[in-house]
Symmetry: C2
Subunit: 417 residues, 2 copies
Amino acid sequence: MRQSKLLFKTQKTLPKDEVAVNAQLLIRANFVHKLMAGVYSYLPLGFRVREKVMEIIREEMNALGAAELLMPSLQPKSAWEASGRWEGLQKIMYQFKDHSGRDVGLGVTHEEIVALLAQGIIDSYADLPKYVYQIQAKFRDEPRAKSGILRGREFTMKDMYSFHADEKSLEDFYEKAKKAYTRVFERCGLKSYVTEASGGDFSKSHSHEFMVETPAGEDETYLCRLCGFARNKEIADFKKGERCPTCTAGVLEKVTTVEVGNIFKLGTKFSEAANLNFKDKEGTLKPVVMGSYGIGVERLMGTIVEVHHDERGILWPETVAPFTIHLLLLGEASEELQKFADGVYHEFEKAGVEVLFDDRMKVSAGEKFYDADLIGLPWRAIVSEKTMVQGKIEIKKRNESGSKTVKAKEFIAEIKQ
Amino acid sequence: MRQSKLLFKTQKTLPKDEVAVNAQLLIRANFVHKLMAGVYSYLPLGFRVREKVMEIIREEMNALGAAELLMPSLQPKSAWEASGRWEGLQKIMYQFKDHSGRDVGLGVTHEEIVALLAQGIIDSYADLPKYVYQIQAKFRDEPRAKSGILRGREFTMKDMYSFHADEKSLEDFYEKAKKAYTRVFERCGLKSYVTEASGGDFSKSHSHEFMVETPAGEDETYLCRLCGFARNKEIADFKKGERCPTCTAGVLEKVTTVEVGNIFKLGTKFSEAANLNFKDKEGTLKPVVMGSYGIGVERLMGTIVEVHHDERGILWPETVAPFTIHLLLLGEASEELQKFADGVYHEFEKAGVEVLFDDRMKVSAGEKFYDADLIGLPWRAIVSEKTMVQGKIEIKKRNESGSKTVKAKEFIAEIKQ
């Protein structure tokens, strides 16, 4: 992609009140644009990161045997009354009247809606288990939206729902989902810890949260670095320095974390509210057993920025970087140099290497380096008069200081391995 | 995909008040689920059609040089005041107060928002032209939502915006976009007519609509089948039977059409309202010239159903079908037959042929045929004791009556051509 063709320009000024590191970097690097508190647009580079994060999530959910679908944001009050959550969630749910005077709300989550949807599809034990997920906009009127894209008023959530005939089936899938979640975060370049947590709004039964260590987080977690034991401070009664209750060798630390995912054994709370029943083998009508599994897409993206940055800008892990290589054309480009740079650009494109080509004229080398560090692609490739005479490019990793001068072809072979 | 694994079941009953053919068929075939008037969920099969339609749109927009981004639905009143549309659109826009008492609304379109976004990115003639698009949820409180997914209260729109230094540049891109739109509809199996139309809410300058002939439409269009001339009845003063003003040979017909896309030359209305200016070569500050280009994704999907169906169900064009082949396992399947059917299924999957495998047990052949016709995949393949003894499958096109018995391998070679 030619940088000159994108609606894109790194920014010198920040909106007032934007205190979160993730938002500051993403706004300066022009990945996101702030429309109002907690509400952001995703510009072409930010859009690409978001897509890559979603693709990783999709692959892992599909591997679980879940099928993707899409439910609406606009929802009638009636769907939320049986579970008691129209009132229960009214502090954070946008609820209003349409032009005919009907009460509607914007979905903060979809347990009620998916249970209604499954009625008429699931009615026998033979229809179970079933797993579905969506990647869809959610709305929450957060009283404090100061964490950048970690806590948006409008955000994208991957929410998966599972339907089972019994607790055993739920338990099996729940454990598989737990592993899939850990893989999602790992593939996004994040080390996550699974913590037991309270069920929150959902249920009194078991639930787990996935925590990533960062000072930007809003949670406190007791952590044993030796064995990976983690427990949310809310439900734990440890003291700092206490021995780990699992491995007994490690010492517990209290660390600040951000919750990047959560999974819930819902039991029959929502199926009972929605009359979602099935006939078991004996013909007895029973409520379906449900689970729900959430990942906030932009929160995950923001966490990656919080964990992977330095004083100069972002350091995107290769798996989620908007492009792999930032190709910079330096100097007062002669026609010959432009042609050479174009050739290198096309060589990358032809080889299927994702490349952002800073082809801007009349921009100093210093400014291009500054922008490239801020944007934070994994590799930087320089083309200048100096490299052209050797028929080569100068390659440097974003997170390393040394560079080397090689032929584009050799470098392509190296990263395509 | 194994049908037994999907959250999916064809439906016998319809919601009350669902009169539109597209919704009736899509609900019966379990592609969509109705949550409330004008608000639908997209189940796995419907989700796949929607994805294919969006992928066609994406390819054509990318080919125009437009980059994808994503803007939010939740929008502050302030963004809509300068253009005068907070009041102008209040009859169809969901507008409400958040918990802090601020006025917010749900986006019905994004001209105001994209103009704000482009500020600080576009400030010189060297930054122009630029093209961006998004595929994003829109909300409109339609007074009558009786046309199924043709007119939803929540729906997905591809909206593209172009930014130019002058009218000439807009004109060039507008003509390219017009051709790209025609290709989108053609690739979706639809013959579209470009009609001149009034600018509607947007502007007094030129705009065009893309019309597809179907009795389900809400528009009336004068049409010359000979040369393709078309004019919206709203702005035309023709009589039925009048000679075509363009080719003079054809005779005008008045036909019912649905509007599947529209494009607008906005001029400087929204850039002036948002203070989106650029410096020209002489250093003079000028408002950016804009264009906007919309396609309703679900409306397009619904139109395909309105045009391509018969009394038994849907007939999906191959380009947008959720799967290419419906593989039916018939009869009281012995272990041997099941194994043979599984083998055929894996052969299709391995060859990259998208196959839906009706592997349900205890379901009669008649019911499977009925469901397959309703779902409407382009090809039906039968595996039974009779075909197994020959090591073959029986192949039939959805829209043809004849069938033939061939080896799976031969059929794969045929459709992969």
